[in-house]
Each structure stands twice: as structure tokens, then as C-alpha cells.
């Protein structure tokens, strides 16, 4: 009886309180659900049914295995003080996990701390007898002294820690500081250099970046200035590769250099001033001083360096940026934009002689071309841009613009200690000036409820000063080609005279509210100009893009979308050639080759999202892509009917096809208001016939003949299925 009485009392009390405050609490709860930050934590497990070396390069799930799935997004806010506490964790159960915590008193002070790990696994498998992988002393097997055969995986890991601080100092005046420290460790596929043999670059380096910025902002004036510093610090500077059984020494060892420590310090100031609500000027100023003055490690190996050559490069690169901008709407229907940019990258590293292979001469063959100086390159680029947009009607706008880019380039000439003329070291002709003018015209239709789009045409022309010729190795004029030698008869792609025409069309069509289409078509044509004295290099380039997207909302609960994209690029190229069997052409004929390279991509995506019941939601996606690369080459046939191909070599390169099919499905089931169960299913099929690591008959490539013997195997077909189950808890 007592129990009944007790229950009655509690029930009565509850009923009374609920009756009075119930509606208000229900209202509050409903409103709070809508306006208060929300959090979620999910925990689960997933399993991949097979190894997926290609698709798993970055996602931390390369191997056939079970993986923990743990994510969290916790957001708390104290409304009274505007204080946020956030914790976001992703992939905690995987190798590429990251976590970020934040405390923010909004408008006053904030601090963030994050950890981020990115792993990158080489998709190929290496079977090798190379010893010392991961270290700076590696031993190459020989037939007489073969090391143990091992299968190795190569890859790198980046582990970054970041710190961010924000402080509002005064109304409109903020200070921010960011610091990032990233350790990169691991191994990278490399080459022995002195011979086409397998080597592994040992990576153990740190990148640090710090940026402090003081920003002022008022209605009219904004200023932002500060310091940005960055440091590269490596623990490995030189790798010694020696054949098995031989001592490490100058005579026996190939020394491979590694990038050395470098650093840069930048001061910057950005400013903007709004003269009127429609007229604004901006300025950007930055000066960067970068150095690389580490001791050169090859100087420590007896007999490896030119006597008396500098112990360090004393590298110094100073960069200046000045940019001025003006935007204005002088009349209601006209917008103008003017921009001037001066960007000067000056490599002020002193030029010194580091190598003199033959003490007799640096100029005249056969003893010439054996001196090597460092070669600083500098670029001073002036860019001016003027663009105007005129509103023709309520929905049509016409934009016309021109951009002029003028570049002065310092080209090192190192012959007879700087006497001028053809350069003895470079093997590629260069220009000291490269200029490009780009015109643009675009008609846009916008502000319409059903049909928007744009049509743009772009024309650019690039040209430059006369070429500074070369007399470096491989440019003999005694080979049948004649002066100025084959090396000088090319237009390098980055400085070649070029005319570019580009057309872009974009359309957004929404015939009814539930249905939307998007169409994009692009066509670009590059024409590289060639005179009779400079016939080689890229001759033509074209690219096309066609993409179509559709989205249909069937009801309040179901939506489907689909897209298809086609892209195609083609490059035609012409080069002279050596007779692959030797170092010099042996015939008087001018041999040349013409490449016709094509890449075609077809991609398709289909997705559906929907609510099956109020508790069950689902989504499914199909992604399919196929990329085909074609490598056609035409070789000059000599009068005798031969092409002078070397023995044991096939110039017939098959097409390469890469195919990916990925089907994914997810569904969530609401257990209650605050928790869900989520199921993920993924099936992916990856296939390639890439011959990069194959001999002409399709067998796996292997290095060397009497040494090394490393075999590289690419897995051409990878099918795998993922099943994952998670519990998701949501709260406020």
C-alpha cells in the first residue's frame, strides 16, 4: 500500500509540474533542437575483403583487414559567454587519423590544436635484394654476392601538429598566430642515378611554418600585415650506394644528394580602402628572403669535389611582390576592374664553379663541357589586367577584359667564364623575355528563375625575345643536323610562341522546381608556332570537356542525380632523335619522330538519396570512369627501309586503359531520437593495363643485368568489397 501511495504521490507531483511547465518545456526543447549546436559520436567496425593497393593509397585501408571506425564531432557552446568548445576527430581507427580541438570565446580569444596524419603508400610491390632500405647507406647486390630477396612496400607518412591562436585586441583589431610542424618519414622510389638501377630515398624531414598577422578592419579601411616564416629541415643529406663486397669510397660508390635545409622569411602587408560603396582600392606588398646555405655533404668525401669549390651554395632568393588593384562601379550598369602586379623572384645565389671534370678545358670538345657552375634563375613578371562588365539588360551581362603579362628572365650563360654567346652547360635554349596577352569576352545570363548560363571566348598570344642558344652536351653539329645543333632547334613548351583559343559554354536550366540540368562544354586549341630553324617541340594541343548533370527531386523524401563527363586532350609533338643504339647519329639523314598523344576520359556518376520510412534513410552511388591514353609515334624510315631501332626494343606502345567502378550504399536506422545505426557497403573494381612497369612482352620489369635485379610489380586488377557497421550517438 505504501508503494502505491508513494507512486501516486510521485505521479501526482509529476503530473502537476508537467501540466504547468510541460508545454513550455516542450516548446523549449523543440526550439533548442533547432537552435543549439549539435554533436555526434560514431563507433563501428568495417572490413575490406581484399587488398586494394591503388584505391587505398591514401585512405589508410590498403590491406584486406578489419578496421575500427571511430569519428566524433562534439560542439558545445555556452550561450551566456559565447564560448565554444569543439572536438572533431576523424578516422581515429585508421592510419590517416586526425583530431582537432578548439576553444573559442567568440569575438575575444580562441585557440586550436590539431593533429593530422597522412599516409601515402606506393601501390607497387618491390621484390629486391637491395640492402639498407630506409637508410643513407645502401648496398646493391651483384651476381657474385646476391643479398637476400625481400618484398618491400614503400611509402611515406606525414604527421602534422598545428596550433592556432586568435585574439581580438580592440574593436576591429585582431591578432592571429598559426604554427604548423609536420614530420615526414618513410621511403620513396628513387634511382641510383649513375646507372638505371633501383634505389630508395630515405625521407626524414620536418617542415615548420609560422604566421603571425595583425588585422585591422573598419568600414572603409582594412589592413593586414605580418610575418610568415617557413623552415625545411632534413636529417638525411646524402645517400651512398655501393655494390656488394666493395668498401664505401669515392671510387666504388655512387653518392646521391638530397635536398638540404632551407628557410624563408616573409613580411607582408595587405590593404584595402573603400572610397565609396562602389569604388575600392587594394594594395599588396610582400618581401621574402629565402636561403639555403647548408654545408654540401659531398665536400666531405675525399676526391669527390673540385678543389677549392665552395663548401656551401650560399643560396639566396629574394622575392618582391607589389600589387595594386582598383574595382569600381562608376555607373549602375558598369563594373570595372584594374589590376597591376609586379612579382620579382631574384635568385641572388653567387655563381661558382663546383665541378671541373677535366682540368684541361671547360670549352672545347672533347675536353669541353666538363665544367659545371650553379645556375640561378630569376623571373621578373609584370602583369596588368583590365576588365569591364556591362549589364545589357536585367539578365544579360557582357564582360570584356585584357591581361598583359611581361616577363624578364635571367638566363645563366656559363662559357669561357661568362664571355657570352652559346652556353656550354645548358642543353635547352632559353629566352630572356616572354610576353603573353590574353583577351577575354564573356556573355552571361543570370538572375533568371529557369535559365542561366554563360558563353566565354578567350584568346591569348605568347611570344618572346630571341633564343639564347646552347653548346652543351648532346648538341653536336657533326651529326648530320648541322648548326646550330639539335638542342637549339626546339621551342621549349613553357616559353614557346603559342596562340591559344578557348571557348566555354555553361548552362543551368531548371524547367520545373524539382528538375535541374547543368551543361558545360569547353574547347581549347593551342597552336605552337615553329620557324624552319626551330621545328621541334609541341606543335598542336587541343582539349575538350563535355559535362552534363541532372538532378530530380521526386518528392519531399527522394532525390536522384546523375552526371556524365567526357574529356579529351591531344598533343602533337615533333622531335629529332638519336639512333637509340648509340650516342650519336650515324647517318647524314635528319631523323625525326612525331608523337600524337591522346588522353580520353569518360566518367559517370549516379546517386540516389531517400527516406524509406521516418526511421530509415538510405543513399546509393555509382561511380564509373574509364581513361584511355594513346601513344602513337611516327618514325622516319630511312632510304634503306630501316628505323635504326636498337636491339631488344619495341617502339610499339599499346594504349593504356584505367577503369574504376565503385558502388556504394549506406543506410541509417534511427534507433531512437538520439541514436542511429549506419550500414555502409562499398564494392570497387579497379583495372589497368598500364605498361609502365612491364617489358615489351608484358612481364614484370626488373632492373639491371648483373646487379640489382629488383622487380617492380603493379597489381593490374583489384576488386574489393567493404562492409561497415556503425553506431551513431547524437546529442546537444
Amino acid at each position: 500500500m505504501n508503494a502505491i501511495q508513494q507512486t501516486f504521490r510521485l505521479t501526482t507531483t509529476a503530473a502537476a509540474l508537467l501540466a504547468i511547465f510541460g508545454p513550455a518545456l516542450a516548446d523549449d526543447a523543440e526550439v533548442n533542437e533547432l537552435i543549439k549546436p549539435e554533436s555526434s559520436v560514431s563507433i563501428g567496425v568495417g572490413n575490406w575483403s581484399a587488398d586494394r593497393p591503388q584505391q587505398g593509397i591514401y585512405d589508410g585501408m590498403r590491406d584486406k583487414d578489419a578496421y575500427g571506425l571511430l569519428d566524433a564531432d562534439i560542439v558545445k557552446r555556452d550561450d551566456a559567454t559565447g564560448t565554444w568548445m569543439k572536438l572533431k576527430a576523424s578516422n581515429l581507427g585508421l592510419d590517416n587519423r586526425e583530431i582537432k580541438g578548439e576553444y573559442l570565446r567568440q569575438g575575444n580569444f580562441g585557440i586550436t590544436l590539431d593533429y593530422n596524419r597522412i599516409s601515402r603508400d606506393n601501390p607497387n610491390t618491390f621484390t629486391t635484394r637491395l640492402q639498407g632500405i630506409g637508410t643513407t647507406t645502401q648496398t646493391v647486390s651483384t651476381a657474385a654476392l646476391p643479398g637476400p630477396l625481400q618484398t618491400v612496400s614503400l611509402g611515406t607518412v606525414r604527421e602534422g601538429i598545428g596550433l592556432g591562436i586568435y585574439k581580438n585586441l580592440l574593436p576591429g583589431l585582431d591578432f592571429t598566430l598559426s604554427f604548423k610542424n609536420e614530420e615526414k618519414t618513410g621511403t620513396r622510389h628513387w634511382g641510383r642515378g649513375g646507372a638505371p638501377e633501383f634505389a630508395v630515398e630515405p625521407i626524414n624531414s620536418t617542415i615548420r611554418q609560422v604566421e603571425g598577422t595583425l588585422s585591422y578592419s573598419s568600414k572603409k579601411l582594412q589592413l593586414s600585415g605580418g610575418y610568415y616564416g617557413s623552415w625545411y629541415d632534413t636529417k638525411n643529406t646524402l645517400v651512398a650506394m655501393t655494390n656488394a663486397g666493395l668498401p664505401v669510397s669515392n671510387a666504388n660508390t655512387t653518392y646521391l644528394s638530397l635536398p638540404l635545409d632551407n628557410q624563408a622569411h616573409q613580411l607582408f602587408l595587405n590593404g584595402g580602402y573603400s572610397f565609396t560603396p562602389t569604388t575600392r582600392a587594394t594594395v599588396k606588398l610582400a618581401y621574402t628572403h629565402a636561403t639555403q646555405d647548408e654545408h654540401l655533404p659531398t665536400q666531405d668525401v675525399a676526391g669527390l669535389s673540385l678543389a677549392g669549390s665552395p663548401q656551401s651554395l650560399k643560396g639566396e632568393v629574394n622575392t618582391t611582390l607589389v600589387q595594386l588593384g582598383l574595382t569600381s562601379r562608376p555607373i549602375k550598369d558598369l563594373s570595372l576592374l584594374a589590376n597591376f602586379r609586379y612579382f620579382d623572384v631574384q635568385d641572388e645565389t653567387p655563381v661558382a664553379r663546383f665541378v671541373q671534370g677535366n682540368p684541361l678545358s671547360c670549352v672545347t670538345p672533347p675536353n669541353g663541357n666538363q665544367c659545371v657552375d650553379n645556375t640561378p634563375f630569376s623571373y621578373k613578371t609584370l602583369t596588368g589586367k583590365l576588365e569591364g562588365t556591362y549589364r545589357l539588360t536585367d539578365v544579360y551581362r557582357l564582360t570584356a577584359g585584357v591581361e598583359e603579362r611581361r616577363q624578364d628572365r635571367a638566363v645563366p650563360v656559363s662559357n669561357s667564364l661568362g664571355a657570352g654567346g652559346a652556353d656550354n652547360q645548358r642543353v635547352v635554349p632559353m629566352r630572356s623575355k616572354v610576353d603573353e596577352t590574353t583577351w577575354r569576352l564573356e556573355l552571361r545570363r543570370s538572375m533568371s528563375e529557369t535559365l542561366n548560363g554563360s558563353l566565354a571566348y578567350l584568346f591569348s598570344q605568347r611570344t618572346g625575345s630571341s633564343y639564347l642558344t646552347v653548346a652543351g652536351p648532346g648538341n653536336s653539329t657533326t651529326n648530320g643536323i648541322g648548326a646550330p645543333g639539335p638542342g637549339n632547334m626546339i621551342n621549349p613548351l613553357n616559353i614557346a610562341d603559342r596562340e591559344r583559343n578557348k571557348l566555354r559554354f555553361a548552362l543551368d536550366w531548371t524547367p520545373v522546381e524539382s528538375l535541374a540540368f547543368q551543361l558545360n562544354v569547353e574547347q581549347a586549341i593551342d597552336d605552337y608556332e615553329h620557324g624552319p630553324d626551330r621545328p621541334y617541340g609541341l606543335t598542336d594541343g587541343t582539349s575538350q570537356l563535355f559535362s552534363f548533370d541532372a538532378s530530380y527531386t521526386m518528392s519531399e523524401k527522394w532525390q536522384v542525380n546523375a552526371w556524365y563527363a567526357y574529356d579529351h586532350s591531344r598533343a602533337k609533338q615533333r622531335n629529332s632523335r638519336a639512333n637509340n643504339g648509340g650516342d650519336r647519329l650515324v647517318v647524314a639523314d635528319v631523323l625525326d619522330k612525331r608523337y600524337d598523344l591522346q588522353d580520353t576520359g569518360n566518367s559517370l556518376g549516379i546517386g540516389v538519396r531517400g527516406e524509406v520510412t521516418p526511421r530509415v534513410k538510405m543513399g546509393a552511388d555509382l561511380q564509373w570512369s574509364r581513361n584511355v591514353s594513346k601513344y602513337d609515334q611516327g618514325l622516319t624510315v630511312l632510304a634503306a627501309g630501316t628505323q635504326l631501332l636498337p636491339a631488344g626494343f619495341s617502339s610499339d606502345l599499346p594504349n593504356i586503359e584505367n577503369k574504376l567502378l565503385r558502388l556504394s550504399f549506406f543506410s541509417t536506422y534511427a534507433l531512437n531520437k538520439s541514436s542511429d545505426l549506419r550500414v555502409d557497403l562499398i564494392h570497387e573494381r579497379w583495372q589497368t593495363d598500364d605498361w609502365s612497369w612491364s617489358f615489351a612482352n608484358g612481364t614484370a620489369f626488373s632492373y639491371g643485368t648483373t646487379t640489382d635485379g629488383t622487380t617492380v610489380t603493379a597489381n593490374p586488377k583489384q576488386n574489393a568489397t567493404f562492409v561497415g557497421l556503425r553506431y551513431v550517438y547524437k546529442f546537444q
Binding site: 501540466a19 593509397i57 555556452d78 559565447g82 590517416n96 586526425e98 567568440q106 569575438g107 585582431d174 634511382g191 641510383r192 646507372a195 638505371p196 617542415i207 588585422s215 582594412q222 617557413s230 625545411y232 655512387t254 653518392y255 646521391l256 635536398p259 624563408a264 587594394t282 655533404p297 659531398t298 669527390l304 669535389s305 574595382t327 563594373s335 576592374l337 663546383f354 665541378v355 634563375f377 551581362r397 648532346g474 653536336s476 639539335p486 626546339i490 613548351l493 617541340g537 559535362s547 563527363a565 574529356d567 622531335n575 632523335r577 637509340n580 648509340g582 650519336r584 608523337y595 538519396r609 531517400g610 601513344y631 636498337p646 631488344g648 617502339s651 606502345l653 584505367n658 574504376l660 643485368t705
Partner: protein, 327 residues
């Protein structure tokens, strides 16, 4: 104690009766109506008097009608920060909209941001820039996006608790709405970890700025160095295109060739190098293991089988080819 129980029981009955009365009084048929109170933002009662929880959309998977009140979950809804705006700061005073009587659809607010808005792009952006003109948005007006009429709200969902474009996992999805070529490229075999959610478009691009290609730094190389600083040098042996522009050889969005190369060796190398020696070799594959450099320019790493330090070398080895990036 008995008296108390009786009091509570009576209170329960009275409470239940009046709670119904309160609900009834809140109904549209009520003759008296309390002045609405602010729900989230200072002065938002002008709007939330109608756009209240009853009118608001519940979060759905399709998010066809985003919640208006969800702004309360965002930094804009943090009223303790005196800088946070109220509805009319962005949407305008909208007197015609507010004072509309009748059962037909009211005229739209002064400034709207949806797909079918009649508000000009400049006016839409001004709503944001009135507070966000400083810092990273200083050069917005001369950015490519601004000059192509891309508005802030084309990418940002101001009312949403989770703004897709600010989330690592979903940002690219927003960018691909327009950038279709990049959507195809990031799915190619060689790509940055964008689809894996480890990098975002804004890792390299600052869409609010006016740097070339909307990059975060003043040049492409400076942008790449933030992660690939070992390429910065300078080196004893500099490879010219490396010092000029990483984009000469690489397409950072994705390619079918290892290491994001635009073209594979020897084709790529021969775009600059015309040579009477083995660098001028024909492309092709050896039929068996070999050490002949004239037949190894295509297979494996191609020319880089030997010229392995292609980004620059620091060797001072007394060799005639020391400057050829082999050491």
C-alpha cells in the same frame, strides 16, 4: 502531507485545463496575441514572430528547405558576441514583407539569397562584406569569383550548422558544382588526397583572394612549397622549369601518370629536350632486362630511372654530367 497531496492533485487538474487554454490562446483564432520575443538574435522577433519553430523546417536528408532557425547553431547565432548580426542586417528591413496582410504569398524580403533571387550579386555580397571585408576577404572584389558573379551564398550556407564548403569531407562537392574538369581529374589514379578527405580545394586555393589561379600563396611554386618544401632549393643544379612553375610538368588535380605528371617520359622531357644522344631516343619498351640508357627512357620511371633528382641536385661530384640531376 495529505493537504499537500490534495493541493497537488487539484493543481494538476487546473494545470491540465489551463495548459489547453494556453495552447488555444496561442492558436491563430485567439483574439489576443502577445508580442513575439526574440528567439535567437537580438531583434529577430520581427522575423521569428512568423518564422518560428512551427514554421521552420526540420532537418532532413535532402535538406530541400533548410532550417531558418538553424542559424542559432552557428557563429552568426552566438549573441554573446556583440558583433553578430540580426536577420535584417542581411535581409534588409523588408517592411513590405513584414507588414503584408492577407492569405496570399507576401512579397519577398529586401535581400534574398536563394537560387531564384532577384537580388543582384553585388547586393548579396554586400550583406556579407559589411562585416567580412577585412582579413582574408580584403581582395574579394578583384577575385575571379566576384568578377564572374559568384556570390558568397553560392558556396556558403549561412544558416546551416554544417556549412558544406567549410567541412573537409564535403568541400570538394561544392566546388565541383561548377568545376567539372577537376571533378573528373581528382578521381584519376594519380591524385592529391582530396576524395579521401585529407586535403581540400582550399588547401591550395584561396577563393576569396586575387592571387593568380586563386592560389593561397603569391605563386604556384610558393603554394606547393607549403607541403613540398624540399623542392624549394635553391640547388647547386637547378632544373629550370622547377624554378619557374611546378605546373609545367604536373597537374595537381590528377592525372593517369604517376606523380601527377601531365605527360609521361620521354614525351614530357622531349617537350624541351631535343638531343642528338640518348635523350633523343624513341619511346618504347625493352624486351628484356638491360642497362642501356637508350632503351630505358619510357619504362619504369622513364628518364628519371637515371635522372632521379629531377627537381634539383646538390652533388659536387667531379663528373661531366653532374648537372644532369643524376646525383
Amino acid at each position: 502531507m495529505k493537504t499537500l497531496r490534495q493541493f497537488l492533485a487539484v493543481t494538476a487538474c487546473v494545470g491540465m485545463f489551463f495548459s489547453g487554454a494556453v495552447v488555444a490562446a496561442d492558436s491563430p483564432t485567439a483574439t489576443t496575441k502577445e508580442a513575439p520575443k526574440d528567439l535567437i538574435l537580438k531583434g529577430d522577433a520581427k522575423c521569428t514572430g512568423c518564422h518560428d519553430e512551427a514554421d521552420d523546417s526540420k532537418p532532413t536528408m535532402l535538406d530541400l528547405r533548410p532550417s531558418v532557425l538553424a542559424i542559432g547553431k552557428t557563429k552568426h547565432g552566438t549573441v554573446a558576441d556583440s558583433r553578430t548580426p540580426t536577420c535584417t542586417d542581411c535581409h534588409g528591413e523588408s517592411e513590405k514583407h513584414v507588414k503584408h496582410k492577407g492569405s496570399d504569398k507576401p512579397p519577398k524580403a529586401d535581400r534574398t539569397f536563394g537560387k531564384n533571387t532577384k537580388t543582384s550579386p553585388e547586393a548579396r555580397n554586400d550583406a556579407c562584406l559589411s562585416c567580412h571585408q577585412g582579413g582574408k576577404h580584403m581582395n574579394w572584389q578583384s577575385s575571379v569569383h566576384a568578377s564572374r558573379d559568384v556570390t558568397c551564398t553560392a558556396c556558403h550556407k549561412v544558416h546551416a550548422a554544417h556549412d558544406k564548403v567549410r567541412e573537409k569531407a564535403t568541400q570538394a562537392e561544392v566546388c565541383f558544382t561548377c568545376h567539372k574538369e577537376q571533378r573528373a581529374q581528382v578521381n584519376r589514379p594519380s591524385h592529391h588526397p582530396i576524395i579521401e578527405g585529407k586535403m581540400t580545394c582550399t588547401s591550395c586555393h584561396d577563393l576569396h583572394g586575387d592571387n593568380p589561379k586563386s592560389l593561397t600563396k603569391a605563386s604556384l611554386n610558393d603554394t606547393c612549397y607549403t607541403c613540398h618544401m624540399e623542392k624549394r632549393g635553391p640547388f647547386v643544379h637547378n632544373h629550370q622549369p622547377v624554378t619557374e612553375d611546378c605546373g609545367i610538368c604536373h597537374n595537381p588535380h590528377g592525372t593517369t601518370i604517376a606523380n601527377l605528371l601531365k605527360s609521361r617520359p620521354p614525351f614530357l622531357c622531349q617537350e624541351c629536350h631535343n638531343h642528338d644522344s640518348h635523350p633523343g631516343q624513341v619511346a618504347g619498351l625493352p624486351t628484356a632486362a638491360t642497362t642501356g640508357s637508350s632503351t630505358l627512357g619510357t619504362v619504369g620511371r622513364g628518364c628519371l630511372n637515371c635522372h632521379t633528382n629531377i627537381h634539383g641536385g646538390n652533388s659536387t661530384q667531379n663528373s661531366a654530367t653532374a648537372g644532369r640531376f643524376r646525383r
